[in-house]
């Protein structure tokens, strides 16, 4: 237990950031490549996906950011008993500053009052850190880099919504989420992945929605009703014909992931976290073994 307290993982966190910023996860790449095969040959949609794939390849080869907007770094940390979250927070903040110096991240943290950019991606609640203790004996860290353009088209609905004919049930959820996809058009750098949360208060709902983005594209929701809804919104969202970058085409969404929270009887929120094609996420597991510290990235 004391070993957790003396461990310095700063360099490992820098590597985690580097991977997230420069290597697009394999499931995203596969999904984009498959989507490209479905678009009309020679269409603008096909060309856009082709360019995206080439760009992803170049970024990985040169270890440069996939997109110049390296977004908000969001860390989700699951830790075993004995870990100091204060020490980890300090190491992560240090790692983010180092990663900025090494140009894996663009300086993105702006003081909302003075307008000053801190220059190193640290600031008030920046990067975002969420800690949760768990029963396992290793440390697990997920990182998402959430772009600004797509965050600007993320949105929240309060049900019932008369204009969309959305009541407080899953059919209502379907209606507002499809509206969110329509409102976003290509502006969130489509094709996107939707993280959706039902319930909670406004704040918890947005956090839950973003956490859905950690799920692999090909997983199945354990709740059969939500699994069916995910599938339906994915298909119907693509029927809107918005297409990559809003050029028109078959690929508007690459995935829909929905989570639910308990809510007050008085409220029914639906939050939609829109993630662009540059859905950058990476994870890291740290295990203590006898004399060794084992670190695995994924």
């Amino acid at each position: 237990m004391d070993r957790w307290r003396t461990l310095d993982l700063t360099e490992e966190f820098v590597e985690l950031v580097r991977r997230a910023a420069t290597v697009l996860p394999a499931d995203m790449r596969t999904a984009i490549a498959e989507a490209k095969g479905q678009e009309e040959p020679g269409s603008a949609a096909e060309g856009a996906l082709e360019t995206i794939l080439l760009n992803v390849k170049m970024a990985e080869e040169h270890s440069t950011p996939i997109c110049q907007d390296t977004g908000t770094p969001i860390f989700e940390i699951k830790y075993p008993y004995g870990v100091s979250t204060k020490a980890l927070s300090e190491q992560i903040r240090k790692a983010v500053a180092i990663a900025t110096q090494r140009a894996y991240l663009r300086p993105n943290a702006v003081d909302s009052v003075t307008g000053q950019n801190s220059g190193d991606n640290t600031g008030e609640d920046f990067p975002t850190l969420h800690f949760q203790e768990w029963d396992q004996d290793h440390l697990h860290v997920d990182l998402i880099l959430k772009g600004g353009g797509c965050e600007n088209v993320s949105t929240q609905y309060k049900l019932p919504d008369a204009k969309l004919g959305a009541g407080r049930d899953l059919e209502g959820v379907r209606r507002v989420v499809l509206d969110a996809v329509f409102q976003a058009q290509g502006k969130g750098c489509a094709p996107g992945v939707l993280g959706v949360a039902i319930g909670g208060d406004r704040g918890a709902s947005y956090i839950k929605a973003k956490q859905q983005l950690l799920r692999p594209l090909d997983d199945t929701n354990p709740d059969p009703q939500l699994a069916a809804l995910e599938q339906r919104i994915l298909e119907e969202g693509n029927q809107l014909g918005i297409g990559p970058m809003g050029f028109g085409g078959k690929t508007t969404l690459l995935g829909v992931k929905i989570g639910a929270l308990h809510r007050l009887p008085a409220s029914y929120f639906v939050s939609v976290a829109y993630m662009c094609w540059a859905n950058r996420r990476a994870s890291m597991d740290v295990t203590l073994r006898d004399d060794n510290v084992e670190v695995n990235y994924a």
Binding site: A44, T64, I66, R106, Q185
Partner: protein
């Protein structure tokens, strides 16, 4: 697929339709909010002062048949004083809507590159001039930076690196025509078609 080199002719522009993929070559210039505001105030609404005259003449030459790119690049300065582009994705174009039509007309611009599309005033100027709006791929920063083969010069460095006017030579810069010189806008078409689809989907249940 079209391959065009600046300066671009009116015939070439009239031959482009929304949805066409184009590979751009030759000299183009970056410009965003500060650059557009400057050109309007000092050259289009105002008259260039004596010391601004050389720049004005340079721009007139460069932009006649030329292209402006809405981009705030990340650049690297080398030890020998030359520059290169590290990341050069497009920025949101709609902020230039108030200026763009006048800049297109005054300089005989043939194209504007950006993302997200522009509004009716720019579409009208595209039809008259003629000119087109080229959409670059949002987020494709590495790839576009690779297409920038040379940084020829930079004007108005006092605006800061992202806002300065960078004259660059590009090779096969991939873009898509989303507003053409015949009055068509993909942005308008896609929004209308998707609205109709949405209404049908919401009707269904």
């Amino acid at each position: 697929m079209h391959r065009l080199t600046t300066p671009i002719s009116d015939e070439e522009i009239r031959g482009l339709r929304v949805g066409d993929t184009v590979y751009l070559n030759g000299l183009i210039m970056t410009g965003r909010d500060a650059a557009h505001k400057f050109m309007i105030e000092h050259f289009i609404k105002g008259t260039p002062s004596e010391e601004e005259l050389p720049l004005y003449n340079e721009l007139k030459k460069l932009l006649d048949g030329g292209v402006i790119y809405h981009c705030g690049p990340v650049v690297k300065k080398h030890e020998d004083g030359t520059w290169s582009f590290v990341a050069a994705g497009p920025t949101t174009s709609i902020r230039e809507e108030v200026y763009q039509a006048d800049v297109i007309r005054h300089f005989n611009l043939k194209g504007v590159i950006g993302k997200g599309g522009m509004g009716p005033r720019t579409l009208q100027a595209c039809r008259e001039q003629p000119a087109v709006y080229f959409h670059a791929i949002g987020g494709a920063a590495s790839l576009i930076a690779q297409a920038v083969k040379e940084v020829v010069t930079v004007y108005k460095m006092e605006f800061g690196v992202p806002e300065a006017m960078w004259v660059i030579r590009v090779e096969d810069f991939p873009v898509v025509v989303t507003m053409d010189s015949h009055g068509n806008s993909i942005h308008q078409q896609v929004e209308e078609a998707s609205r109709a689809r949405l209404e049908a989907l919401l009707e269904a249940d």
